[in-house]
């Protein structure tokens, strides 16, 4: 067996509001080696908000791990520790073998045993992980994730800590997944999906197979609900979850990229829309910075300004996106729908 291996990963992926999205896009962007923008413009279009759950805002419920697009392939072991022991499966050996074959192991671990993580040596914390390599010279796995300094980057996990972090999980079974980039992946431009998902986003609907929750909002309504939630938590608790402002920024970055791509394909004829999407993206960047500023100052006026900017962003999108959709439909006609 090799002594060390490091699989490619993009550490500044286009979507990284949650680690899961960052892992998936990190693998895709780290391996692609071609222009993925045409494909990306058909992703992360609709979004949803649900207040009752832990992660309340998502921009990636449509095939986030790119399996339907056949860009990443997947296998899994969903086993209890008991069954692992019965079979004598050794986690260290299993992960190393998988990495040797080009598969990225991922799953859940207890961060109490993971150096550089917030919960290290403090408390039990169930969280997701990905491994990108191993090094037998210092007995460590190489992983990527958000560390205690708030940055998404590569870090090392000693072999014995990794095993301990999995074996101490308080769940009935461990979900281990293995991902591999499909070397024949095609990053095709999915025009039909853009029209369908954009229509859902504008109309605050969801036409995809997705569990129906009474209190889940989609599209532009989801962003308004997120704004109301941020206003509530900042004023009542003095707290803001920056993952949500990061998510808004990711979403608007891709919307801007989408409009650019549609222009390049001569599917949009009004340059104003390009400027509008750029304006919205710039506002989203400011919103994220205001979030950071709020964390430091706790000034409610900053939170209020942040929310006003979200409303402004929504207002611009409500104004121009329906016209984009009409233009897309009329430019291409019904044959693709």
């Amino acid at each position: 067996m090799k002594q060390k291996i490091l699989l490619p990963l993009e550490y500044n992926p286009c979507v990284r509001m949650y680690q899961g999205e960052a892992f998936a896009m990190g693998m895709v962007e780290g391996n692609a080696g071609v222009d993925i923008k045409p494909w990306l413009s058909g992703k992360f279009i609709n979004c949803y908000f649900q207040e009752e759950v832990q992660n309340k805002f998502y921009i990636s419920f449509n095939d986030p791990w790119t399996l339907e697009d056949k860009i990443l392939t997947h296998q899994c072991l969903e086993l209890s520790d008991e069954l692992h022991k019965i079979w004598g499966l050794d986690y260290i050996d299993l992960f190393k073998q998988m990495l040797n074959l080009g598969w990225y192991p991922s799953g859940r671990y207890n961060e109490e045993y993971i150096p550089q993580k917030n919960a290290f040596q403090k408390r039990y914390f169930y969280h997701d992980f990905i491994l990108v390599g191993y090094d037998d010279t210092n007995n460590t796995f190489q992983s990527a994730g958000y560390l205690e300094d708030g940055h998404f980057k590569q870090y090392d996990i000693p072999y014995e800590n990794m095993v301990k972090a999995i074996e101490t999980l308080r769940t009935s079974k461990n979900y281990l997944q293995f991902w591999k980039y499909n070397s024949t992946a095609e990053f095709s431009f999915n025009f039909k999906r853009i029209i369908s998902d954009l229509s859902d986003y504008i109309n605050s609907e969801n036409s995809l197979p997705h569990p129906q929750y009474n209190n889940k909002s989609y599209g532009l309504s989801a962003i308004i609900n997120l704004c109301e939630y941020l206003l509530k938590t900042t004023s009542q608790c003095g707290y803001i979850d920056l993952r949500y402002t990061r998510g808004l920024m990711d979403h608007k970055y891709i919307m801007n990229l989408r409009i650019k791509t549609l222009h390049e394909h001569n599917l949009l004829n009004n340059r104003m829309w390009l400027e509008k999407s750029k304006t919205v993206y710039d506002i989203a960047k400011k919103i994220h910075l205001l979030g950071l500023k709020f964390i430091i100052t706790k000034q409610i006026s900053i939170a209020q300004k942040l929310c006003d900017m979200i409303y402004e962003m929504v207002s611009i999108e409500k104004d121009y996106l329906p016209n984009v959709l009409i233009s897309l439909k009329s430019n291409v006609g019904d044959q693709l729908l």
């Binding site: 392939t73 899994c76 040797n100 591999k180």
Partner: protein, 338 residues
């Protein structure tokens, strides 16, 4: 390792879906008569689904395996063959170790593995329930061509080779273990919610509801489907008819259990039994219609199903009232005891 081992399994009464049948067989095999407590809250609501002309009548709106109720622990292996080979996994030995430790092994394979069909396209679900190392055999339950469960003894190595040679990239296996530590609580709140959903033709569960029609309306939609088929002179889907029998059998057994526990009046058990008998007529007449293609027989099927639905609409709302009252009593008692 033991030379022979076989896990408990009791022949199940419901047969519309091998997945339900296997989980029923495993739970009943391990629990005996106490199974009624689990059945009391399973297969209450149902739905009719018509996506892309592939009609389904489903009697398990949620948790068909009883995994969420923590009755069966379900684990899965879904590995790329390349990886399984690199890891040098010996599936024969792994399955034997599983069985020895109380794990049943579930998956789908071509019926040809059990000599039930010559075609690679014909698939069947199977459950490995035991092994015999002396004769190098796995003991397997699988459904045959007419939808009945058979017990097969097949060469262990040949069976695994067949699974590994399927034209698929991955090898997939599921491992079920009966949870002996489950306290088997009778959850009246969940039962009332399911009955209410069934009667009001809705679901309060979080699930994808597009193209699905629930509860009483599901039966009305099923009747419409049968009428359409009859008009076109086409056969009725056997699985749909079997699902009706399974649903009514479970309702009858459930009400019998509730009556024994003095949660509802005994009169409803008789009603449920009548409905169950009507469902068996629906099934047998439906099969007869499929063979002889006689219009009047088809009409009798529809008539029986209509009668059955009307009967349920009469008595089940009263059952719901009694269940709701029992739930309230229980809540009050619990409150007083605290």
């Amino acid at each position: 390792m033991e030379k022979k081992c076989q896990l408990p399994f009791v022949e199940p009464e419901i047969m519309s879906n091998a997945y339900y049948a296997f989980s029923w067989g495993v739970i009943k095999g391990n629990l005996g008569d106490e199974y009624d407590k689990i059945l009391s809250r399973k297969y209450i609501n149902c739905y009719f689904e018509k996506p892309f002309q592939n009609e389904k009548f489903v009697i398990a709106t949620v948790d068909a395996l009883s995994e969420k109720q923590n009755v069966i622990l379900n684990q899965a292996l879904n590995l790329h063959k390349e990886v399984a080979s690199a890891l040098r996994l010996d599936f024969v030995s792994m399955i034997k170790q599983c069985i020895l430790n109380g794990y049943y092994v579930f998956n789908t394979c071509p019926s040809i593995c059990f000599n039930e069909s010559d075609s690679q396209n014909s698939k069947t679900k199977f459950l490995v329930i035991g092994y015999d190392s002396i004769n190098e055999r796995f003991i397997i339950k699988a459904s045959n061509q007419v939808g009945c469960l058979n017990t097969y003894e097949v060469n262990d190595r040949e069976f695994i080779d067949r699974l590994l040679n399927l034209p698929k990239e991955n090898i997939e296996l599921k491992f079920w273990r009966f949870n002996n530590d489950n306290p088997l609580i009778l959850d009246l709140s969940a039962i009332v919610a399911e009955f209410s959903d069934y009667i009001n033709s809705k679901t309060s569960l979080v699930q994808y509801t597009k193209n699905k029609i629930y509860g009483f309306e599901a039966f009305e939609r099923l009747i419409e489907y049968l009428k359409e088929k009859l008009l076109l002179g086409q056969p009725f889907k056997r699985e749909l008819l079997q699902s009706v029998v399974d649903h009514k059998y479970c309702m009858w057994k459930r009400l019998k259990y509730f009556a024994q526990q003095q949660i509802i009046s005994r009169e409803y058990v008789a009603s449920a039994e009548i409905v169950y008998k009507l469902s068996t007529s629906v099934f047998s007449l439906g099969l007869e219609y499929n063979v002889i293609a006689d219009r009047s027989t088809g009409e009798k099927v529809i008539e029986s199903l209509t009668n059955l639905t009307e009967k349920e609409k009469e008595y089940l709302p009263k059952v719901l009232e009694e269940l709701t009252a029992a739930k309230l009593d229980l809540t009050k008692n619990n409150h007083c005891n605290q």
